[in-house]
């Protein structure tokens, strides 16, 4: 996709695949760069939830503060729970494009997935749906919001050490 062209469905899907792959490859700073400056990573507890400030969420992280803290902590190499480094694997279903609105500069995708995390000799497998809201900034797609609805999110779930 060149700077002059508008994103097509295949560009949106390629973006979603790349986003997951950067986490799987532990390229955390590059992953953080995919978020817009006002971008947000959100894991609600209920699928019906529309407002992160009205009830509890598993996490709500804005890029400049908490999402950055997450990446800095992992990149420091000092986090005890990341010794040896935790690895994860996203297995994505082909992203469905929900909205392409060039005028409003808004693009939305819906991507069911399996997510496996390997830590301390054990593998954790979770399923869920990722919903990306993207915008074009200087010719590149950026994440305005990545919302992840985990299966069973409202119930007791184990600690998750990387980013589904």
């Amino acid at each position: 996709m060149s700077a002059r062209t508008l994103p097509a469905e295949t560009d949106l899907a390629a973006f979603v695949y790349r986003e997951a792959r950067l986490v799987d490859e532990r390229r955390f700073h590059e992953w953080l760069d995919l978020f817009a400056e006002d971008g947000r990573y959100w894991l609600p507890m209920r699928r019906e939830q529309t407002d992160p400030s009205a009830e509890q969420s598993i996490t709500v992280e804005d890029k400049p503060l908490l999402l950055k803290a997450r990446v800095l902590r992992l990149a420091s190499g000092k986090a005890y729970s990341d010794q040896p480094p935790v690895r994860c694997q996203h297995v994505l279903q082909a992203p469905a494009v929900e909205e392409i609105d060039h005028g409003a500069n808004r693009y939305r995708t819906h991507t069911p997935f399996f997510y496996a995390e390997y830590r301390q000799g054990e593998q954790l497998v979770l399923a869920g749906t990722a919903r990306h809201t993207l915008r074009l900034e200087g010719g590149a797609l950026r994440i305005v919001e990545k919302r992840v609805d985990l299966l069973g999110a409202g119930n007791a779930i184990p600690s998750i050490f990387l980013m589904p």
Binding site: Q56, T59, L66, K68, A69, L72, A156, I160
Partner: protein, 475 residues
């Protein structure tokens, strides 16, 4: 070795049985738990005053005894009255292996009954929350119950005429569980024996007031649902850590460093964003001297308070509109006293920890010897600006959630400890820090914030409530 001789080597006997359980791949060894019961089931010697035997954390048999004794005789938090505002409203939950229903009756009173049909044991309600109308009806064969659990109706009544149903437990309906409410917090005592609610919590009841007094209207509303995390460790490993102020500097160092890197003020008086303010509590600026001085107090029955003079929450800024509402409601002096009181944690043994500010409560649900579910609750203080509820929810996400940058390191350490405690070698866990002979009755005295007396005090209550027969004395 003949079974009768195992008594004096109780720890070893339990360890052997754990191995047997592993070999057989079964969850509980019936012979062994019967043996424990038969030996008068005395497990008190697994706590030696300053150290704890690893079986207390790892043995499935001890866990089974805890369900029958400790968790049956003491008081557990069930839910909040604001979850069931109208008659017929219910919530279901499970505490220490008992499926329970909390329901509000027509006269507005609350009752707690076992969520197990008196006919064949099916769950009467399977939704987490809802309204059941005027009666509870089992979906299996249609037995119905009044909201206090008593039997209301049976299908084809005449077939029971001449039977013994009405004379036995099944004919009495859903089992009723003792419950008590204070400031909206509903607690239950699962078994028939044990102290009353007021007797059991004593001065620790004030922790519930600490929460509710922060509302200008004196009332809280639970923000549902709570966060829930499943952790592969014994509930006591988590509980001890709640008042372990020392671990913060070792375990959470990487998160502290990240917290310092994300923000710096553009002007010297620029207010800190809320996430930075909360992470600052985990920063080395507080230091060892600070936690020592913040102080701790133990109370009878395992309860404790950490952070008497100050805590990591002391530096939170308050909204002027909130201060004004509190002053109007309570008068200046009382409002100031309420707001200045922000301990690190008030622990209501064995399963609740409260923070007045930021208005959060942790509840431990024991699932198995090596599995605990943590619930992190938030409350909306009626009459307070939305900022308070936002702060409460942010704190839970930041510090307790499954994705929390702080909890990840805790959970990692809890889970590795749980696994390594199974290994042979020295079976004792050390709680020696600050131990002095004769400290058993040091209730209400000021202690250092890093004295492990808060944990020893929990184990003293554990030994008391794990006694084979309930004696009724105080810990």
């Amino acid at each position: 070795m003949p079974r009768a001789m195992r008594c004096g080597f109780h720890g070893a006997a339990v360890r052997d049985s754990v191995r047997a359980v592993r070999r057989n791949g079964r969850l509980a060894d019936v012979d062994t738990i019967e043996t424990l019961r038969g030996q008068r089931g005395d497990v008190g010697h697994l706590f030696q005053g300053d150290r704890v035997h690893r079986d207390v954390y790892t043995s499935p048999e001890i866990f089974a005894l805890e369900q029958e004794r400790l968790f049956a005789r003491t008081w557990q938090f069930l839910g909040h009255a604001s979850q069931v505002p109208k008659p017929g409203d219910f919530v279901t939950t499970e505490i220490a292996g008992r499926p329970l229903i909390l329901v509000r009756a027509a006269d507005k009173s609350l009752s707690v009954v076992m969520n197990r049909c008196a006919h064949k044991g099916a769950k009467v309600l399977t939704e987490a929350t809802g309204s059941t109308g005027r009666a509870l009806r089992c979906p299996y064969h249609g037995w119905s119950y009044r909201l206090d659990g008593s039997l209301l109706g049976l299908p084809i009544q005449k077939d029971y005429e001449g039977t013994r149903l009405r004379e036995c437990e099944n004919g009495k309906g859903l089992e009723r569980i003792a419950s008590a409410e204070r400031r909206g917090f509903v607690f239950v005592r699962l078994g028939g024996e044990g102290p009353s609610f007021e007797e059991y919590f004593g001065p620790a009841l004030s922790f519930l007031d600490m929460m509710a007094d922060r509302s200008p209207e004196g009332e809280l509303e639970a923000i549902m649902p709570p966060l829930r995390v499943s952790i592969k460790c014994n509930w006591k490993i988590y509980l001890e850590n709640i008042n372990d102020s020392l671990h913060v500097f070792a375990a959470h160092e990487p998160t502290m460093i990240a917290g310092r890197q994300i923000w710096s003020p553009k002007t010297p008086d620029e207010p800190r964003p809320m996430p930075v303010e909360q992470l600052a509590g985990f920063q080395a600026g507080t230091g060892f001297e600070f936690i020592e001085k913040m102080g701790a107090r133990v109370m009878p029955e395992g309860h404790s308070l950490l952070g008497l003079a100050a805590s990591v929450h002391s530096h939170y800024g308050e909204d002027p509109a909130y201060l004004a509402a509190m002053t109007k409601a309570y008068g200046e002096e009382r409002a100031k006293a309420i707001l200045a009181y922000m301990p690190q944690n008030g622990v209501m043994y064995p399963s609740v920890a409260l923070k007045g500010s930021p208005q959060v409560m942790r509840v431990l649900r024991p699932i198995a010897a090596d599995r605990t579910v943590l619930e992190a609750w938030c409350f909306r203080a009626k009459g307070a600006p939305p900022m308070l509820a936002e702060r409460s929810m942010l704190y839970n996400r930041l510090v307790f959630s499954p994705l929390s940058l702080v909890a990840q390191d805790d959970v990692h350490l809890f889970e590795t400890a749980q696994k390594s405690l199974l290994a042979s070698g020295n079976p004792w866990v050390s709680l020696h820090r600050g131990h002095r002979p004769g400290e058993e009755n040091d209730f209400g005295k000021d202690k250092s914030g890093i004295d492990e007396i808060v944990m020893r005090n929990q184990h003293r209550a554990w030994a008391k409530y794990m006694a084979p027969a309930w004696s009724g004395g105080r810990a």
